[in-house]
Symmetry: none
Subunit: 583 residues, 2 copies
């Protein structure tokens, strides 16, 4: 593996120093537990009895046993990351080196940083995904080096037009949370060129905090930063060169009062080389998984291939892709940061969302009182900074609105800035909806589960359909605006539980644990014969009829119902196929 080490450099003057950090993943752990679960899957499933079907619902948890903190959590990992300065060395497994240069930031450039990570993980069974969009990211390629994304890259996707930056999403899974950074750039050879891009402005970059702090700065960004004495989350300000924190993002965190971390930070960039598999940089996120900052990653030497092994001449031909990330999510699917998003729509930054989690959450989780939390208003910030890269708004669709336009219709409106409607930030909603889905999927939750859980905690009106429509934005802005905070809060809580372990999430959601997929029923030939005879007479039996049939055949009623559904489907497909063939 790699080694990395070395690193580098700095320049200027001085020192550098550097360090090395080492991280190890090593791992500790004895314990590791891994869950296997092997077979599980099916296994338990059976439990359910037919009869009982109902299930009840969960009681309110009681369960929570334990939990103590982390404890519960399933997977644990230990990570050690020692960092040493000034020394180089080799390390074992994932060493990361970071260098900071003072000047750098300022002057030069900066720093960098890095990180290493370790992830962990867990079980989760389910899937998650984390899509980020990067949509806006880029504007075309522009300029500079850095972050430009080539339009083309994005362009290719249907959604994104060529020029446009669009973005795709990038997902980063992490075990814990962390941040990920995205970027793209390509680099051919690395030599001087880059510098140019980067450097110049030393001053230029400042951290948000600063900005905020000092209003004066045009930067405008005033971010807010104050610590909030809140319970859970702590936040840090970073000033890294490379790192930035998005206030907006933070907010969510505040919601729940989650504990997160945060701190002040400075910035020097560090570069690390993680070697490990490819790790590169990390993102710092708060408990919510929201990104607080990011660390730069280094490239893994080892990995480099073509490159010369050694120090060959500087550049090689690397290719980089452009990225246009949109969201950074943690493994839980929680969004950590938005990367190249559309200007207007910062995913989480909802302005509205409340910060408090629901009761249930609180009860369980431990709140950290100490950590300061910051409430952020994101939206404003997010949006402001970058004008849009051009991305938004130009759509052409004519929305045919009747009387109640849906959010999607409004959002898609052609002209530019249609981001506001009725005082509602449509872009924000759109982003949220997108992120919501991603996060939901990351948690491995179905629309149905979300709907049921919300119905249980928030009262009725949260059917699977409702969730589906929200995700599709097939609802009016007003409805969306109303639903958004509820969904946001609930999801954040679900994510917290999930972090403690899937089991916990399941308890939270439904109460029930894992329900396993029902075992596939095997119908006897006789039964099939009977079912088909009924189907021929009536492909769509009434509930009563289904019940009767199920009794007759002694199969579960649901099984019979599904049989009919599938049978109808099959018939339709069959016919359709024929059609196709014809064509």
């Amino acid at each position: 593996m790699m080694d990395m080490s070395q690193v580098i450099v700095m320049s200027s003057h001085e020192t550098i120093r550097v360090l090395e950090v080492e991280v190890d993943a090593a791992v500790p752990s004895p314990g590791t537990h891994v869950k296997t679960e092997a077979g599980a899957e099916e296994g338990r499933g059976k439990v359910l009895d037919p009869e009982v079907v109902t299930q009840d619902r969960q009681t309110p948890s009681s369960t929570i046993p334990t939990v103590s903190n982390e404890a519960a959590a399933p997977s644990v990992q230990n990570v050690a990351i020692p960092i040493s300065l000034s020394l180089p060395h080799p390390q074992t497994s994932m060493p990361i080196t970071i260098q900071a240069c003072p000047q750098v930031l300022t002057q030069d450039g900066l720093a960098t940083l890095m990180t290493g990570m370790i992830a962990q993980q867990s079980t989760l069974s389910q899937p998650l995904l984390i899509p980020l969009n990067m949509a806006g990211s880029v504007g075309g390629q522009n300029g500079l080096a850095l972050l430009t994304l080539p339009a083309t890259t994005l362009a290719t996707l249907p959604g994104f037009g060529a020029g446009g930056p669009t973005g795709g999403l990038i997902k980063l899974p992490f075990a814990g949370l962390q941040a990920a950074t995205v970027l793209n750039s390509v680099q051919p050879q690395l030599q001087a060129p880059t510098q140019a891009l980067l450097q110049p402005q030393t001053a230029a970059v400042q951290s948000v905090q600063q900005t905020q702090a000092a209003p004066a700065s045009p930067a405008a960004v005033a971010s807010v930063m104050h610590k909030v004495p809140e319970p859970s989350a702590s936040v840090a300000a970073l000033q890294t060169t490379g790192l930035t924190i998005n206030p907006a993002i933070i907010s969510p965190a505040s919601l729940g009062s989650q504990p997160q971390f945060i701190s002040s930070l400075t910035t020097t960039p560090i570069i690390t080389n993680t070697n490990v598999t490819g790790l590169t940089s990390q993102i710092i996120t708060n408990a919510q998984g929201q990104m607080i900052g990011t660390l730069p990653l280094l490239v893994n030497p080892a990995s480099l291939i073509g490159v010369s092994s050694t120090h060959s001449p500087p550049t090689q031909g690397l290719q980089v892709q452009t990225v246009t990330p949109q969201l950074l999510l943690n493994s839980q699917g929680q969004i950590i940061a938005t990367i190249g998003n559309n200007p207007g729509a910062a995913p989480f930054t909802t302005s509205t969302s409340s910060t408090v989690l629901t009761k249930s959450t609180l009860s369980h989780s431990k709140v950290n009182t100490q950590a300061p939390i910051v409430a952020v208003n994101q939206s404003p910030v997010m949006i402001a900074p970058q004008p849009s890269t051009g991305k938004s708004t130009s759509s052409s669709i004519p929305v045919a609105c009747a009387e109640m336009p849906t959010v999607s219709q409004l959002v898609n409106k052609p002209q530019s800035g249609v981001t506001e409607e009725e005082g509602i930030n449509l872009e924000e909603i759109r982003e949220f909806a997108k992120n919501f889905k991603i996060r939901r999927l990351s948690l491995g939750l179905t629309q149905t589960q979300v709907g049921q859980a919300l119905t249980a905690t928030e009262g009725p009106a949260y059917s699977q359909s409702a969730i589906c429509r929200f995700e599709k934005l097939d609802i009016t802005p007003k409805s969306a605006q109303k639903l958004k905070p509820v969904l946001e809060r609930w999801l954040a809580e679900a994510e917290l539980w999930n972090q403690k372990g899937q089991q916990n999430l399941m308890e939270f959601v439904g109460g029930e644990p894992s329900k396993k997929r029902k075992r596939r029923t095997s119908f006897t030939p006789q039964a099939i014969e009977v079912l088909n005879s009924y189907f021929e007479k009536n492909a769509l039996p009434t509930g009563q009829e289904i019940t009767e049939i199920s009794k007759e055949l002694n199969y579960d009623r649901e099984v019979v119902r599904v049989w009919f559904c599938n049978r109808r489907q099959t018939l339709k497909n069959t016919s359709k196929i024929n059609v196709f063939q014809v064509q």
Copy 2:
């Protein structure tokens, strides 16, 4: 758990020194898991009639008692991230080195850094997607600056215990592909936003490459930037400090010769500020989605909260969380990078995979000839590096093996290191399977589509079932080992196409050369074209019209009717799409 150490800081002037950070996650608690299982949700349940409740059937399932294990266990991870400056230390595995630049940090702030993570993973049963845990993240808040992660932060989340880090996963979606970096740091003010970020230090950071390549230059970081004349994507070279490129990763890119970006890069870190929503850093990935390098992110000032606003004294207590990401995916779900993966299993790094894409790909995509491509051999690198963190393996499930154990059974075996079986790296396969699913989903592809496409290009034997079983690892190691490279190559190509646009992806998937496309229930492109033309003329055809259209297209009348219904419904969405594209 946690504590971490302090770290950092620096202040002003100079040096730094730094830190150690430790994070620990400590914790492991025993698991708690509770699974409940309650009943099933209600779901559809309602259905049941009073009458019939009965049920019957259930077949004996198997109950696999086994289960235990891990299941319960959540895995815990501990992460320690000590950072010391100047010192070497102890650490185990993943060392990270950081350099700081004196001044910079100093002054401001500094830097900080980071963390490392490792991720791991779990059992997953299934699908998973990318979970990362972060478990470890942090320890509490501690000290210093840098990277420490406060435990609390994490703790708050349900998952995380107070002390324990648990981990959630983080996912990062990006649109295109790209890389993401994660990191955290905070920055104080931003001013010149972007620029600042970027510029500075040139020297300081160096890229890995350089490191590798030219050791001599200290500055090293010369970044390169040149644009590439390529068509679509632009590439920039980075030299950022923060940026690094991973050769290995790159290779994939080469495959398809995608247009992406690329360029040489050097290393200086660049910081970009993406303004947009919160973007922070980016990762550079190759076409394959593998991470090539990363760019540092900046923190958004706004977000910072508690932290002092300005540059307060150098260090603050930053807290950093540890991250343990696993994969970086783009929005498409393409994996961009692996972050803290398990040692053994680097998602993508398959050793076997070939770099060349298939023909089809070539034809379509524009190849960038110019861009240098690197062929990398990934696997070796990936895997090798880290021994395992310990993660894996402890499961307890007794695998009941008959004669042909499946990969999942083997992987879940209790004892530790059961990563190898028959010379096959099970962990690697497990990781790949997990990532494959994620990437597939990110591309929006179904198992069926993958199976069909593979059948078309690779010959028979790639049914939906096969894909499903591969993902579930319900196959023998031998079979998995055989299938893996094929899937890997195909997916990489699909991702390349996707980068060019969804349309392209669809063509790739479905259309291709030989393929048969028959298919899935959908309408043929021709039929859709005709339907759309009718739709444009009249979105709400009469029954008569529907009948006529259905005859013309030779589709079932109902199918046509439904198509119109759906098309109307979807108009909104569609429009949305356009909007995006436009953007």
